[in-house]
Symmetry: C2
Subunit: 157 residues, 2 copies
Amino acid sequence: MDDVVAALRARGGRLTAQRRALLEALFAADGPVSAEHLARAFGVDPATAYRTLEYLQDLGVARHVHIGHGPGLYALATEPAREYLACERCDAVAIVDAAALDGVRAAIRSASGYEARFDHFPIVGLCASCAAGRPPAHGAAHSHGDHVHTHPHGHEH
Amino acid sequence: MDDVVAALRARGGRLTAQRRALLEALFAADGPVSAEHLARAFGVDPATAYRTLEYLQDLGVARHVHIGHGPGLYALATEPAREYLACERCDAVAIVDAAALDGVRAAIRSASGYEARFDHFPIVGLCASCAAGRPPAHGAAHSHGDHVHTHPHGHEH
DNA sequence: GCCTTCCTGCAAGACGCTTGCAACAAGCCT
DNA sequence: AGGCTTGTTGCAAGCGTCTTGCAGGAAGGC
């Protein structure tokens, strides 16, 4: 957080109340969140939220991911990098370390020559539960909403 | 095409001039096309294009894919099914038989349990050319536009 | 040729942003 | 502490991609 402020200052940027609020929200969030959601939660204007989040992306502090048809969702840029898998049926999103998908990347490379990334546009399909024909399960539901329903035990294997 | 008309009639649907135009355009297209593009090309109202294309999807005749931030692009549902890989840098889109990505699907299944599909949301990354650092190349360019720039020899790895 | 019902065009609205602009306030300077 | 510069903000308008309500129009069965 102090690092962020430093990076911001180094660019001639200013730390306003709005920016602090948005940053704290990003640090506190347990998953990607929409700009609208952040804006509303702190009485910040949506335009400011979008502008600030873009600024934070330029700084390399934040990233956004496009899940399904909904709004873009923002999160801090973590180390190691994260990538996403989204379920079309129950809207669950698995968040995994990018390294977990290196084998997938290799398979794509050999099938197509493409060098894939799933940090901005996720892998889409059915989660294990929905693929098995089980009901949508855990409160996720069809909200196409403001934040991701991370079932945090995503992939461990 | 006759099959389509039959399916349509079987549902109590009617074959209007607009529907015929849109259908013929889909049959003639060499890649996914936006609803706007189809509408404009035949003087059909965009609302009608969207409604008709959705109808054709219900019939199982058409599908749409979301490439990048641009509009959804429509194409006939083919047999065998097709899946897509999009390049973030040069906007090239590779269209491959779904079977070509079965290995990728297997890798994803074993890494995450997800059963992936790339027919609605493609794999996103860098095409072989861009990954190699070569310039954006072939007329593709950044048009985010009306139809896909299929480099037709897509994958044959 | 008629009549029913499906379709169409138009207009307006929803949703997710993006942009122009005038007022505001960080933070540097003294 | 008071000024001053210039980065930021809120508001309002605008844009792209659809979606929806509605009244008129036309397929296609009879």
